[in-house]
Amino acid sequence: MIPEATGQRAISIRLRRWFAAPRENVFRAWTNPEALKNWWCPMGWVPGDIEIDLRVAGTYRIGMRNMESGIPVSVYGRFLEVQRPERLVYTWQWENAFQDMPETRVTVQFVERGAGTEVVLTHENLPEIGVCLRHRSGWIAAWDRMEESCLKPRS
């Protein structure tokens, strides 16, 4: 088998944002079902069932429903690390969107910074597509766009 066939070369996305709120508040907003109902859904969507068993090996499901079509979409997974209020690691899978996508992983760090909290979010194990793009000059633009928003895993 050629090397690309077996290697774990998944890509990841990392984002940071500073919030003007104490770390405990940000952590609660991120993990409390009642709080999530108030901010998680994009416009045009309403909250569905939100269940969060916030402990290692506990599962979660955050559901929402499209107001027009009624189509439900959920994100679900299980917690791999729970360190209140500084760090969460959990698996992430879509339901009703990207059904064949493999399980991905999200790490969220809540860092006290200044009078607020910086959230560092890493979404990992996204399927590798860069390997397919790298060789072809015609796709360099697409690859560059990906590079802007993606960080390759540090191996």
């Binding site: 050629i2 984002l15 003007a20 709120a21 508040n25 907003a29 929402m64 189509i71 969107a97």
Partner: protein, 127 residues
């Protein structure tokens, strides 16, 4: 700083994009990319068009299994086939991969939107 500005512009795109319809159209692309043999076939095709008969060579997989992988890739739009005489050839299709790249942007946009919404919620909570 430059990155932040880019992220903001992505975030404004995110408000117009909601999960659901846009995401669903990519299921097949990512389904096709979820298998290591299919990814290896794509890597091979990235170097140029290949006869179907040579695509299975590096793998300890039966020809029918390779055909099955090729059908998945074809259905996803990631590859196209053509026939010349008795030989079938496969080639990569850039547009489907580009859609995959766009999905990375969509996911980034999704999280940016979530950050925007969280910031708003936290502000309201404080006041």
């Amino acid at each position: 700083m430059k990155n932040r500005i880019q992220h903001r512009s992505v975030a404004s795109v995110a408000r117009r994009r909601v999960p659901g319809s846009q995401f669903d159209s990519l299921d097949e692309v990512f389904g096709a990319l979820s298998d290591p043999i299919r990814r290896a076939i794509l890597t091979r095709l990235a170097a140029g068009e290949c006869p179907v008969s040579t695509l299975g060579e590096p793998f300890a997989v039966s020809p029918p299994a390779i055909s099955k992988h090729l059908r998945v890739l074809e259905k996803s739009g990631l590859i196209a086939r053509r026939k010349s005489g008795r030989v079938h050839y496969c080639r990569l299709r850039a547009d489907a991969l580009r859609r995959g790249g766009d999905w990375i942007q969509q996911l980034t946009a999704f999280w940016e939107r979530q950050f925007d919404a969280l910031a708003k919620y936290l502000d309201q909570e404080q006041s």
